[in-house]
């Protein structure tokens, strides 16, 4: 009985979280240009028009390019940082880790304004690469956390075993640490990718007027009235996020990645 109540509580909350998304999905299926729920004259015409409308395709291209590059750059900063801090306990390791964790912990508007004045000062304000670098630094926390978690899970005796068997430092990295930490690199990249796609304030303040991303485009479109196409874009982004995290959950150990220490077998 209590078990049932607990389950019901969890399910109800999850459904409440999904409710707005269900409504938005319904809205995106409206035939005419209206936001009704349940939808009237259901059709997929707004899905079709999204992919023909360059007003949406250009921001989509920007968003994907920024997310792909920024997450790669993010991982390239987080991986050596995690490796460095993994085996070291000194001031340098702690300061670097703190710097890596800070961007995502602070309210993003602070990072956004920091980057805005930075690019205004050194040049680059309004450029797409400025957004990429800003996102990479802002999101570095995510791959840092996942990769550090992966490294923490590596039994030190595996490295010693490899060395006794004849592996030098680089070979240990290539044949043991690399393969074991790769899933955590991939999930760190995926986390950063999804969050970069959805990030608004930094992209807006660094290059909002010249490099429109999807969230900026949605926000601008909201000012001129709501259309079902906004629902379409939202649905696609929800599906993308669900797909990415679903894949991580399918092929990785999501509870462990989120900090549970109980293993998969339990």
């Amino acid at each position: 009985m209590t078990q049932l109540l607990k389950r019901a509580y969890v399910v109800v909350i999850l459904l409440l979280l999904l409710a707005p998304l269900v409504v938005v999905t319904g809205v995106s299926l409206n035939g005419p240009q209206t936001l009704r729920f349940p939808p009237v004259e259901p059709s997929l015409r707004w899905y079709g028009s999204l992919f023909q409308d360059s007003a949406w395709l250009v921001p989509l291209g920007h968003s994907l390019l920024i997310a792909a590059c920024a997450s790669a750059l993010s991982v390239s900063i987080a991986l050596p940082l995690a490796l460095f801090a993994w085996e070291r306990n000194g001031v340098a390791a702690r300061v670097l880790t703190g710097l890596g964790l800070a961007p995502f912990t602070l309210p993003p508007v602070i990072t956004a304004l920091g980057f805005m004045v930075f690019w205004m000062t050194v040049g680059g304000y309004g450029q797409i690469w400025a957004t990429i670098i800003a996102h990479a630094v802002f999101l570095v926390t995510l791959p840092l956390v996942t990769i550090s978690l992966g490294l923490k899970g590596i039994d030190r005796s595996l490295l010693e075993a490899a060395r006794v068997m004849g592996a030098g430092r680089w070979t240990v990295m290539r044949t043991v640490i690399g393969p074991l930490v790769l899933p955590f690199i991939v999930s760190g990249y995926a986390f950063a990718f999804v969050l970069s796609l959805n990030e608004y304030i930094i992209a807006y303040m660094v290059a909002g007027f010249t490099v429109e991303t999807i969230p900026i485009k949605i926000f601008n479109a909201l000012r001129y009235g709501y259309t079902p196409i906004l629902g379409v874009v939202s649905v696609l982004f929800v599906l993308l996020a669900a797909l990415v995290f679903g894949l991580i959950g399918r092929f990785g150990d999501l509870p462990r990645l989120m900090g549970s220490e109980r293993g998969r077998s339990e």
Binding site: L35, R169, I218, F245, L254, P255, R264
Partner: protein, 278 residues
């Protein structure tokens, strides 16, 4: 022998110094410079922007920001704590599914969440149609924009965050201490409030503070779901920086917000540490 040479730390150190520390330095400099109504700022040293914190305007902004964030954080933690405890006791598969939902919601752009919620609370497609159909209200109405809509929105983004902050300590709590309490005669609710909650007090306080900081940073929801008098500090910072062309004041507010956030995050980690030491 270490697996990595020390120089691997150079690249991240360089990147974070240039693109994280330097921007802060510049922001600090801007916050004491002279405002240039033409768009940027004139280097200088004046504390006029900080002096504006003493104004009634700023006091009201702070009160709104802190008020809605405290309300949202409290609601989130109260809802999220039992949710997390229950979730952690379920099967690995259920946990994975729930985490996928939570992460998907958490990663969604505030603009999409704002749009979804304003649709849900709207007159034409919203929840009021359901109430109307059930006969609870006389005619469909819009619940947005309003303070209620804003707090709902902040809870929506804050809840997954609260669960993910609570999840590690909750799932590491030894389930045997609850079983021990039950064997010794405690009822389920008594075991929950007498054993689980006190053991995780530090984690709960930490989660409350972190969700508070997280919702404090919300920028789009106040504009999409709230009225202009519900604008928070984040909105005002952007407003000052871009539309009022008062970068120095925006920078000063950012520094202030950062100090508040850092102090609170420090407090949260302290609360977490006390729990471990206990």
């Amino acid at each position: 022998m270490r697996a990595t040479p020390g120089w691997v730390g150079l690249w991240p150190a360089l990147m974070l110094a240039i693109f994280f520390l330097v921007p802060f330095g510049i922001m600090l400099a801007v916050s004491v410079s002279h405002r240039d109504p033409a768009g940027a700022f004139i280097p200088g040293f004046e504390l006029t922007h900080y002096a504006r914190f003493l104004s009634a305007f700023f006091a009201k902004v702070m009160a709104v920001s802190v008020g809605v964030s405290v309300a949202a954080a409290a609601i989130c933690v109260v809802l999220a704590f039992p949710f997390t405890v229950f979730l952690a006791s379920m099967s690995h598969r259920t946990q994975t599914v729930a985490l996928v939902v939570l992460l998907s919601v958490l990663s969604l752009s505030e603009v999409i969440i704002g749009f979804s919620l304003s649709t849900l609370l709207s007159k034409t497609a919203g929840i009021s149609n359901l109430f109307y159909w059930l006969g609870l209200i006389a005619e469909p109405r819009a619940y947005t924009p309003s303070l209620f809509a804003l707090v709902t929105g902040l809870c929506y983004i804050g809840f997954p965050f609260a669960v993910l902050v609570l999840y590690p300590p909750v799932s590491r709590l030894d389930p045997e201490i609850v079983e021990a309490a039950r064997v010794m005669g405690a009822s389920a609710s008594r075991a929950f409030f007498g054993v689980v909650v006190p053991n995780l007090r530090g984690a709960i306080v930490g989660a409350f503070i972190l969700v508070f900081v997280f919702t404090l940073g919300s920028y789009l929801l106040p504009q999409l779901l709230g009225r202009s008098e519900d604008w928070t500090l984040s909105v005002h910072i952007t407003d000052q920086a871009i539309y009022q062309t008062n970068l120095p004041f925006a920078a000063a507010m950012s520094i202030f917000l950062m100090l508040v956030a850092l102090a609170l995050v420090g407090l949260a980690s302290l609360a977490g540490r006390q729990r471990r030491a206990a």
